[in-house]
Symmetry: C2
Subunit: 154 residues, 2 copies
């Protein structure tokens, strides 16, 4: 996703192309880990120190309204954001609060087909998101990466 692509996307939605909007979209794509508004602000300020907090929130709203990004809600109170690159679901780790993308087209087809056959009365589905809650397992190591010969604390 290049800056040209970003400009293109904004333009397609009839949004004015501003440095702030480009910066926010770029930040979400670069950070790539469901950043909070704060994360995004910190990232942007490295290059544009005087971007207003309120502006970032306003930009985020505009981008969500125009379906260029999605909001991701956690059990904690801060909102997180996600670039819309490809339909995907989320794995929520109850231990670490990490959110990982989960791509599975096979599953998407399964769900789409399921709801094509079993419509929900009086409801028109626009999107289906799976929140898969659980824990990341620490993978077993075949060999330790590092050896710590020294004691942890002097």
């Amino acid at each position: 996703m290049t800056i040209t692509d970003i400009r293109q996307q904004l333009s397609e939605k009839g949004l004015k192309i501003t440095p702030q909007r480009i910066a926010v979209l770029e930040a979400i794509i670069k950070l790539n880990n469901h950043p909070s508004a704060e994360n995004i602000i910190d990232y942007i300020r490295k290059n544009y120190p005087n971007v207003s907090t309120a502006t970032v929130y306003k930009v985020l709203d505009a981008l969500v309204d125009n379906e260029l990004i999605k909001r991701v809600k956690t059990d904690k109170d801060v909102m997180r954001y996600d670039a819309i690159l490809h339909a995907h679901h989320h794995l929520y780790c109850t231990k670490t609060d990490k959110i990982k993308d989960y791509f599975n087209d096979d599953l998407n087809h399964l769900l789409t087909n399921y709801f094509k056959k079993h419509r929900i009365l009086d409801f028109e589905i626009a999107d289906i998101k799976l929140q898969i809650v659980g824990k990341f397992k620490t993978p077993k190591k075949t060999a330790p990466k590092k050896r710590n010969i020294l004691p942890k604390k002097a």
Copy 2:
């Protein structure tokens, strides 16, 4: 779900049985519409005017920690709560912000089986929630309910 049941549930989890905890659980069950903390507080205060806001939040945390209720995440910023009566998913209306329960054991089995066959690498699933986003259709009326003979504005 009677008060005796509620006492039983608290007791099973090793939680002290307090009037406040009973009131909160009762409120969530009675309100039955994914209430926010504010909704719950308003409801409880009708009968117990001096329940502290902080207490309600603390009780909600305790109940979530002990899996007696669930948090319902929305794209908006307030958290909502839901009694755990039976496994279910949610329909989110983008027009009205209403959240409706969606029960479908058939679908639950489908998903459970799917993930039994297709495990997610390094992730241990505890719960799967579907957020089905869309719009409630207003059902077609066979005849109009009212006729408005007068002009809309004088």
